[in-house]
Each structure stands twice: as structure tokens, then as C-alpha cells.
């Protein structure tokens, strides 16, 4: 009985993964191999590969991409590590507030974030107008790109690491302390090494995200003369004739890079075991901060200022400006842009509704599928489970444009019994595909810390596979799952690139609306929409969080 239940769940999640991730990936791969695939022809195989790979600029682009990925991963780590330690191991005052604040960078679309930094720092920008500081040479440089991207991506590391450290908990460190280790030594030799799965998983995500991110390199890189693979891929989509095969080939290079990072991560976390949650109940043993309360709060405030207040402030200021050339004088400020949004100009409110409901749907679907995938890859002995693990990371390394093309090639066929393409379902599918890596990474990291003795105990007591999952494992990994679903929600509510390609005619999302306004020379309207989207998704998160807390309290 237990075997059957397990087999069914296994089979369902495998086919879901195949449908959601493998199918579009397969089509991208085929497109790279067969340049005339869109015409239904298999002629000239490999033609595009040799053409694209023999381009003289390629090594430079590849080098820049790797340099950017590593720099952003390291810089994110530097920002996130102290924050995560404080959040995970100490009694930080107002902890939920900081969590919420640090989630906001994620809800700001990268191209809006980059644009708001430009508006802030470029000569004549807000910092010149308010403080007399011209940051033009900082923002339009490699350092500027790395900083902007890290300030946007560090929450990935912060959330994974703080949750992992909280689970590893003070308990192991206490043991070390009892054995005579100093607090620092206990941290360095016990807590930090035991947190490796969360650390490695989140750095892998950041690396994969930064090599595929388009918004920031496109807006800042052009000024700095810094070009990466993604900008080259994007050029193949914008420059006539459209070169889909070439874009697919370059995307394969990104996949190879991500594969390298994945193998490294895999090697790091499988070298030894990181089990730290066994049968014994662990009490929450967060350390009191004592005299360090103030510096800790100051650090959180400083990071929030730079990562949240300044960019979001710039978004708000430009949304309030009637014209950009009018600057920040009182007679140039007003609420016209917001009024236009609330009057539903250009379908603004419909776009907001579409995005928020799709984001909730994506968080639920990706959370479910991600948990199952993580469970299979970490806990089962299924052949090909490592393949599955890698497969679930793939969408993160591929640029959104390319995933979107894969989805069109796969789903725009007459032989599907239900028309998925050209319906809202294709957007849901795209978001789940693109964002599946978050729950898989986060939940997987959590599972690696849970001793198998717990499953065994449950089974001995007569629980089947499903019940073990439901009653033992899911509650234990709930914090990781929740955080990953919040991230999925945050990103899905503002995803741009695949939304532009896949939105059915007549449907717009927050991001496509904002982008359209930027393109057509109304940045103020786009910014007003961003402000409303950021605040409404934050409000929704707070509400969900409250609800969940009430539910878990009543369950206790």
C-alpha cells in the first residue's frame, strides 16, 4: 500500500516535471541543433552551432559573463552573510519586519531597479539635485553593474542562509561551547560548515540568475561598454532577421556554465553529510544580542537603506514627477500618474489583477512541484534523480526569452487536447517553469538536514509514503518552503521577459505594462505602476503571512 502511494506521487511529479520543464528545454535544444525547426524542417543540422560559435566576439562575452556571475555571487554573499547570521542565530529585534523589507528588492523588477539607480546617480539625477553628488562614473561601470545586481539578488542568500542557520540552530553550537569552544570558534567550525547546503544552493542560484539576467546589463552595460552573453542573445531577438537558432546556441553556453556551477555545488554538498535535525526535539535557542543590539539594528538599517529605501524612493520620486526634465521642484510634483493608473488607463488595473493572481497560482504550483522534486532528488534512490535535480535548475540559467521560445515551440501545436498556448495557462506554465528552481533548491537544502531516522520512525509506526511526507517532512521543511514560495510570488508578480513573449493577445501584466510605458516615453506612468505593484504585492505578502501564522498557532 505504501509503495503504491509513493509510486503514484513519484510518477505524477515526474510527468509534471517533464511537461513543465523538460519539454520546453527539449525544444530549445532542438532549435539549437536544427536552425529551420520553426518551419518544421530538419535541414542544415548543426549549421547554427558552427556559425554562432565561430564568432570572434564570443570568448570575450563568455569571459565577461563568468566574471559577472562570480562577482555578483561573492558580493551578494558579503552583504548577506552577516545579516543571515544575525537573523538566524540571534534574538534580532523586529525580525519579521527586516525579512519583509529585505524581500522588497526582489519585488522590484531588475530593469526598474537599474533605471531607478540611473535616475538617482547619473549627472543631474536625484542625488545631484538633492545632495550635489554625481555618481555617474560609479553607476556606469562594471562595479556599478555588480553592485546593482548584488543589491537586487542578495536576498536569495540571506533567506536561504538565515533559515538554514536557524535550523542548524544554537544546539550544535551549544554542544561545541560546552566542549570549551569560543563562540567564534563554535560558529566557524560547527554552525557555518553545517550551513553549507543552504549556502551552496543559494550561491548557485545567484550565479545562475546573474548570468541570465537581462535588465541590468542591458541598461547599465551599454554605457559601460560591458557586454555579456545575455545581451548578445537579446540582440538576436531584436535585430532583423531574427536569429532564434543563434540565440538557442548561445543559451546552451549559459546552460553549460550553469552545469559547471551545479556540479561544483553538488560536489560540495555531497562530500559529507549535513544532517542536523534528528529525532530529538530542538528548542529555539537564539542567542540574546545584549550590547550588540544597536549595532545589529544599525547594520540592518544601513543595508535596507541602500537596497530598499534609495531605489524604491527613486521609483516613487519619478512616479510623482510630472516631467523628468522638470526635476524635483514642488510645482513639478503631483499625483497625476497615480490617478491615471487608478483610472485604469491602458488597462493598468487589469494588468495588476492578472499579475497578482498569476503570482499566487505560480507560488502554489511551484511550491507543490518543487517539494516533490526536492524530495525525489534528495530522498529517493531513483536512477536519474541527479538529472532531475539539474533539470529543475535549468530554467534559471536560461534567459527568459529563450524559455519563452521553447514554450511556444512546445505548446503552439494543434495536437494538444486543450489549448494551453494563447491562454493564461501558458503564463502560469512559464512562471512555474522559470521559478521552480527556488522551491527545489530551498526545500532540498532543508531536506538534506533532516535525518532519515525520522522517516524510518514514521514508517515503522505504520505511516505510508504520503503520510510521512505530510506529517513529518513537510512540517519540518515548512520554513524553507514558505520562503521559497514567497520568492516565487515576488518574482512572478513582476516577471517581464517571458511575459512579453507569451502573454495572450489582449492580456497585459504589470511588467509588460511598465515596459510598454518606458518604451513609449512615459516613464512616470510606468514608475507609478511599479510603486502600486510593489506595495500591493508587499501588502498581500503581509496578509498571507498573518494568515499562515494564525493557522499554525491554532494547529499547535
Amino acid at each position: 500500500m505504501e509503495r503504491q502511494g509513493g509510486g503514484l506521487i513519484l510518477g505524477l511529479s515526474l510527468s509534471a516535471l517533464a511537461l513543465v520543464v523538460a519539454l520546453p528545454m527539449l525544444f530549445v535544444f532542438l532549435q539549437a541543433l536544427f536552425p529551420y525547426l520553426t518551419e518544421g524542417s530538419f535541414r542544415d543540422p548543426f549549421g547554427s552551432i558552427t556559425r554562432t560559435l565561430s564568432e570572434p566576439r564570443l570568448p570575450g562575452l563568455l569571459g565577461n559573463t563568468i566574471l559577472l556571475g562570480i562577482s555578483v555571487a561573492l558580493c551578494s554573499l558579503v552583504i548577506a552573510l552577516p545579516l543571515a547570521v544575525l537573523r538566524g542565530l540571534t534574538k534580532l529585534p523586529a525580525a519579521p519586519l527586516w525579512d519583509l523589507l529585505l524581500l522588497i528588492p526582489f519585488m522590484v523588477p531588475p530593469y526598474v531597479g537599474a533605471f531607478s539607480w540611473i535616475l538617482t546617480l547619473q549627472p543631474g539625477g536625484f542625488s545631484t539635485q538633492l545632495l550635489g553628488i554625481d555618481g555617474g562614473s560609479l553607476i556606469f561601470s562594471f562595479t556599478g553593474i555588480v553592485l546593482v545586481m548584488s543589491l537586487h539578488l542578495f536576498p536569495v542568500v540571506y533567506f536561504a542562509l538565515s533559515r538554514t542557520m536557524a535550523t542548524v540552530g544554537g544546539r550544535f553550537a551549544s554542544v561545541a561551547r560546552v566542549c570549551g569552544a569560543s563562540p567564534l570558534r563554535a560558529f566557524l567550525t560547527v554552525t557555518l560548515p553545517l550551513s553549507t547546503p543552504g549556502l551552496a544552493a543559494s550561491l548557485l542560484l545567484v550565479f545562475a540568475l546573474s548570468i541570465e539576467e537581462f535588465g541590468t546589463p542591458a541598461t547599465l552595460g551599454a554605457h559601460a561598454g560591458f557586454h555579456v552573453l545575455v545581451t548578445a542573445i537579446h540582440l538576436r531577438f531584436t535585430d532583423w532577421p531574427i536569429d532564434l537558432p543563434g540565440a538557442a546556441v548561445l543559451s546552451m553556453l549559459l546552460v553549460v556554465l550553469a552545469l559547471g556551477a551545479f556540479l561544483l555545488q553538488h560536489w560540495i554538498i555531497t562530500r559529507r553529510t549535513y544532517v542536523s535535525v534528528a529525532g530529538k526535539s530542538a528548542r529555539d535557542e537564539a542567542a540574546p544580542l545584549g550590547p550588540w543590539r544597536l549595532p545589529a539594528v544599525a547594520l540592518f538599517s544601513a543595508v535596507s537603506l541602500v537596497a530598499v529605501v534609495i531605489p524604491v524612493g527613486a521609483v516613487i520620486l519619478s512616479a510623482l514627477s510630472r516631467t523628468l526634465s522638470g526635476g524635483l521642484s514642488p510645482d513639478n510634483l503631483g499625483l497625476e500618474n497615480f490617478a491615471a493608473i487608478f483610472a485604469n488607463r491602458g488597462g493598468a488595473l487589469d494588468a495588476l489583477r492578472t499579475s497578482l493572481s498569476l503570482a499566487v497560482g505560480a507560488a502554489l504550483c511551484a511550491g507543490l512541484l518543487g517539494t516533490l522534486t526536492a524530495f525525489i532528488t534528495v530522498r529517493s534512490t531513483l536512477p536519474g534523480r541527479r538529472m532531475m535535480d539539474f533539470l529543475s535548475l535549468l530554467p534559471n540559467a536560461l534567459p527568459g526569452m529563450v524559455v519563452a521560445v521553447g514554450l511556444i515551440l512546445a505548446w503552439n501545436r494543434e495536437w494538444w487536447p486543450v489549448p494551453i498556448y494563447n491562454s493564461m495557462a501558458i503564463l502560469l506554465l512559464a512562471y512555474v517553469c522559470l521559478l521552480l528552481p527556488y522551491p527545489v533548491r530551498y526545500v532540498g537544502a532543508g531536506l538534506r538536514q533532516i535525518g532519515e531516522s525520522l522517516d524510518a520512525a514514521a514508517r515503522v509506526s505504520g505511516a505510508g509514503f504520503g503520510m510521512t511526507l505530510r506529517r513529518i517532512l513537510v512540517p519540518l521543511i515548512a520554513p524553507n518552503l514558505m520562503v521559497s514560495m514567497l520568492l516565487v510570488f515576488a518574482i512572478a508578480s513582476r516577471e517581464l521577459v517571458s511575459s512579453i513573449m507569451l502573454a495572450p493577445p489582449g492580456v497585459s501584466t504589470v511588467a509588460t505594462f511598465v515596459f510598454g510605458q518606458f518604451e513609449q516615453g512615459s516613464p512616470g506612468l510606468g514608475m507609478a505602476m511599479s510603486v502600486i505593484a510593489i506595495f500591493s504585492s508587499t501588502a498581500l505578502l503581509v496578509a498571507l503571512n498573518q494568515m499562515q501564522r494564525r493557522v499554525s498557532v491554532s494547529a499547535d
Partner: protein, 323 residues
């Protein structure tokens, strides 16, 4: 858990249900911006014919990429692009339906063909921030003068067909003088910044003083909203980027598609085009901006070989010092 799953299923079911509502008496339009124009044309067409128009609006690149990816099962009936070149290529591949609208009689010959016709056209211009403190430019070469040190942006000719057309036309008509201008722009540290919006925004905020070759109707609309900019058409001439409207051969409703083209070229439709500050395709419909008689239009060779184009792009990038 089970609840989550059910919710997910419900979400998928709902989305599928929404899609099934589409019926045969509808037309699908893929179009480059502005969204307002597409929506107005769609509503106007629905009001006069009763046919609903589903609009997919994105940048020309995204529209074309989507068309390309959908080739196995094309979804669009009518396509409006912002790059003339794209119509030539689609026609050559045999993707377009031949149609000459009776309303196209007053469209100049350069803006129509047996398989496509312009919706309207935009010109490239110098957009100058009048608060910048820099002298008002009157020709492209003024931007290469020392006054404009670190003050010029330009959309990337590698990414924008219109910007490439400008480079190519200047080189054809001015030869050495054009290369001298480009050299001066290099000395001025001109920034080549992605698409049109990325070149325009720094000029709006005053970080830069002028755009070399901005799409005029977008700047005219921004000026109308109160931005302190001027749109200047250089004396030595500029290029037009016409926006081809075409019917895909794969359309399931060719008659409706033809009616849509007729409507777009009707006086009503062309007035909507004029409202965006574009140049209407029909010469007999008044423009709300400098019209045909006030522009010196330079010829663009749309049949240029790709290799020659690549060569010119490389030479241009070296000349202006772009990496």
C-alpha cells in the same frame, strides 16, 4: 498539501476555460507600440464591423520573435511592425497575403507595396533638452562640436533598424563628412545606449543634452506632456521609418483582415495615427507635426546585402569608439 494541489488545479482549469471562449469572428493583431493607438484602432474597428480584435502589443523585435517561434501554427492575422525591413523579408519568405487596399490610393508609392502598406511613419530627429545650457543644434554635425562633450546619446544601430538606416543614409549622402561627424562624436564620448527609450531618458533628466536620431513621435508626445525638449529635424536631412501593416498568408479570416487594413487607412483610422504625432501614411490626412513638405527625407536602401550591413556597422562602431 492536498488543498494546495486542488487550488493549483483550479487555477489551471480557470485559465484553460478563459481561453476556450475565443470564437471565429475575431481578428488577432500583432503590433509594435504605441499601445494606445492599437487599442483605439481595435475598438474603432469593432464598433464599425462588430468584429473583436485581440491585440498583442510589444516591441518590433518581440513581435517578430513571436511570429518566428509560432511559424508551425501561426496565430496572427494582421501584423504591424515598426521596421520596414521586416515586411520585405516576410514577403520574400512568402508569408504575406497580397492585398492593395482601395484606401491606399493617396499613400505615397514609397510607403506601399503589393503585399504591405504603411500605417504611418516616424522620422529620426535630434532631441535637445532646452534647459541643458548647450547651444541649440541644427544639424547632425553640431553634435560633434566641442560644445557637446559628454552630452550626446544615440540608439544602437545594431539593435534599431531606424538608427542603422540613419547611419547608412548619412554615409551614402555625405561620405567623408559623415565619417568626420562620427569621429567628432567619438571625441565627445557619445554613449550608444540600447533602444530609443534608453537614449532618450538621460536627455529628459538632463544627464545628457541631446539624442542623435531619436524616434520623433515619442519625443513629440513627451514634449506635449511638458518635458523641456525640442525635436529638431536636421537641415541635411533625416530618415523615415515607415511602419508596414501586413496580412499573414496563414490567416483564417482574410476578408476580415483586409477590412482591418481598409479601416486603418480610412480617414478615421489615419486620424488616430495622427493623434500619436506620427506621420499618417495617407498624404491627404493632416499630420499634427511637421509633415511631408517640411522634412528632407534621405533614401534608405532596404535591399542591402547583410554582409555589407555588417561591414558598415563594424566600421561605424570603430569610428564612434563603441566597444
Amino acid at each position: 498539501m492536498r488543498k494546495t494541489f486542488r487550488l493549483g488545479l483550479a487555477a489551471i482549469g480557470m485559465a484553460v476555460g478563459l481561453s476556450a471562449a475565443a470564437s471565429a469572428q475575431e481578428l488577432t493583431l500583432y503590433t509594435a507600440g504605441p499601445a494606445d493607438l492599437a487599442d483605439r484602432l481595435a475598438k474603432g474597428f469593432e464598433a464599425s464591423t462588430g468584429t473583436k480584435v485581440n491585440v498583442f502589443q510589444a516591441t518590433t523585435g518581440k513581435v517578430m520573435a513571436r511570429l518566428e517561434a509560432e511559424r508551425a501554427n501561426p496565430q496572427a492575422d494582421v501584423v504591424i511592425s515598426a521596421a520596414w525591413q521586416s515586411a520585405l523579408e516576410l514577403k520574400e519568405r512568402g508569408d504575406l497575403l497580397e492585398y492593395v487596399s482601395p484606401n491606399a490610393q493617396t499613400v505615397p508609392d514609397s510607403l506601399k507595396d503589393s503585399h504591405y502598406v504603411a500605417q504611418g511613419a516616424a522620422a529620426l530627429a535630434i532631441v535637445w533638452n532646452s534647459k541643458s545650457g548647450k547651444p541649440r543644434p541644427s544639424d547632425w554635425s553640431d553634435l560633434a562640436a566641442p560644445d557637446y562633450k559628454d552630452a550626446v546619446t544615440m540608439p544602437d544601430p545594431a539593435a534599431s533598424g531606424a538608427a542603422y538606416g540613419l547611419v547608412s543614409a548619412l554615409v551614402t549622402t555625405q561620405a567623408d563628412a559623415a565619417w568626420k561627424t562620427f569621429g567628432g562624436l567619438k571625441d565627445n564620448g557619445m554613449v550608444i545606449a540600447g533602444a530609443n527609450a534608453q537614449a532618450l531618458n538621460p536627455v529628459l533628466q538632463g544627464a545628457k543634452a541631446a539624442v542623435m536620431g531619436a524616434v520623433d513621435y515619442i519625443a513629440l508626445a513627451a514634449k506635449e506632456k511638458g518635458e523641456s525638449i525640442d525635436v529638431i529635424y536636421p537641415a541635411s536631412g533625416t530618415v523615415l521609418e515607415a511602419r508596414p501593416a501586413m496580412i499573414l498568408k496563414s490567416t483564417r479570416s482574410p476578408d476580415l483582415a483586409k477590412q482591418f487594413i481598409d479601416y486603418m487607412l480610412s480617414e478615421e483610422g489615419q486620424a488616430m495615427v495622427a493623434d500619436t504625432y506620427m506621420l499618417p501614411a495617407r498624404a491627404d490626412v493632416a499630420a499634427k507635426r511637421p509633415g511631408w513638405s517640411e522634412l528632407t527625407v534621405l533614401e534608405v536602401d532596404h535591399n542591402e546585402a547583410p554582409a555589407k550591413r555588417q561591414e558598415l556597422l563594424t566600421r561605424f562602431k570603430t569610428a564612434v569608439g563603441a566597444q
